[in-house]
Symmetry: C2
Subunit: 187 residues, 2 copies
DNA sequence: GTGTGCATGTAAGGAGTTACATGATTGC
DNA sequence: GCAATCATGTAACTCCTTACATGCACAC
């Protein structure tokens, strides 16, 4: 029976499986890879590393990189086991989608048509900016990972990009439906 | 200058704009409409209604429905104004997507190919079940709303359905790529 | 010498879930 | 009589974000 891993522990252990890392390194790795579907802040990462150390899932690694006050961590065998157990666990995985722009659209019938169109255009522009950020900040690193023997990290990056593009395209379609005077909405 | 609306206040005020409601009614409305992109639990709704009452954005409505101990609320003019200000506000809307299945896939290169395929099939099945629930529990109500003069509620329901179907299809595509021995992953 | 990046942490607060406790009404 | 649904609320807990505080190293 494995001890329960907190949400942050999952991404921390996973990142350490890719090699020894400091808390700062883990944060950087999250920002350039899983950010889109799983974030983590310093305020979570550092306390979590300490908890994992005290429960024996990670340990301090000898600091071989010159710089002082680097506290690099690595997985212990117990940590590797806990990570693998989580990966193949069959409890329903956590899923959360929370989207204020969509909530506003839901109440959009309380706005004027012009206000709705403005909202739709603005949301689409934000999504396209997001997509561009995935393209420049995440995809290139994922391609490296793929070449380095981790093809699935590229798949998840592509998912993030394609999902964002799909949403932007959905808003473009909505704008067309809203502007088309022919559109008898099909019930 | 408008007072800041908490996240839960936004959906509560919006639901009250559609008519007088008890906390219980609001919860039911959320479950059958916005649940997919904006949830709310009793533990949030009841305290929020009291806060909104004490700040004058909602008020108790005369109980015309026989049953005792129903505390139906309605918007005050100040509440209508606050709601409209939020709807047309131009601060960046809250967006959160958190997906444990995708995080596992990101670390999937630590699993065996069989374990990855199992995970992919299971996640796809869960998404298809979600889509079915949107079809049976949310879409029919949204069609009613559309006929009742709220076409955008139907648009958002369709978004929820189509997004879920798109994700399920993405997993189907991934499974094909993983099983195809020809697949030289394009970097 | 100064700004940028590397690096580690803490404290306070906001948001949300879950479990619990209670009771009325309605249909079978 | 009993189960399901309607109905209101509280308490404890988890999770996460933000802001703050500190200091080193290195390049320009």
């Amino acid at each position: 029976m494995q001890p329960h891993l907190t949400p942050t522990a999952r991404v921390v252990l996973g990142m350490l499986a890719h090699g020894r890392r400091t808390g700062y390194d883990i944060k950087r790795a999250v920002e350039t890879s899983t950010r889109f579907f799983w974030g983590a802040s310093f305020g979570q990462i550092y306390p979590e590393l300490e908890r994992l150390r005290s429960s024996g899932l990670v340990e301090l690694a000898a600091d071989d990189e010159g710089a002082v006050s680097r506290r690099a961590h690595r997985l212990t065998p117990a940590g590797q086991l806990a990570l693998h157990c989580w990966l193949v666990d069959d409890v329903e995985p956590h899923f959360q989608y929370r989207d204020e722009a969509m909530l506003r659209l839901f109440f959009g019938d309380l706005m004027t048509p012009d206000e709705v169109i403005t909202h739709v255009r603005r949301t689409r522009a934000l999504l396209e900016a997001d997509a561009e950020r995935v393209r420049t900040e995440i995809l290139p690193r994922a391609r490296e990972g793929s070449r380095a023997g981790r093809p699935l990290t590229l798949e998840t990056a592509r998912f993030g990009l394609e999902l964002t593009e799909w949403m932007a395209a959905w808003y473009a379609g909505l704008e067309r439906r809203l502007l088309d005077p022919e559109s008898e909405l099909p019930y």
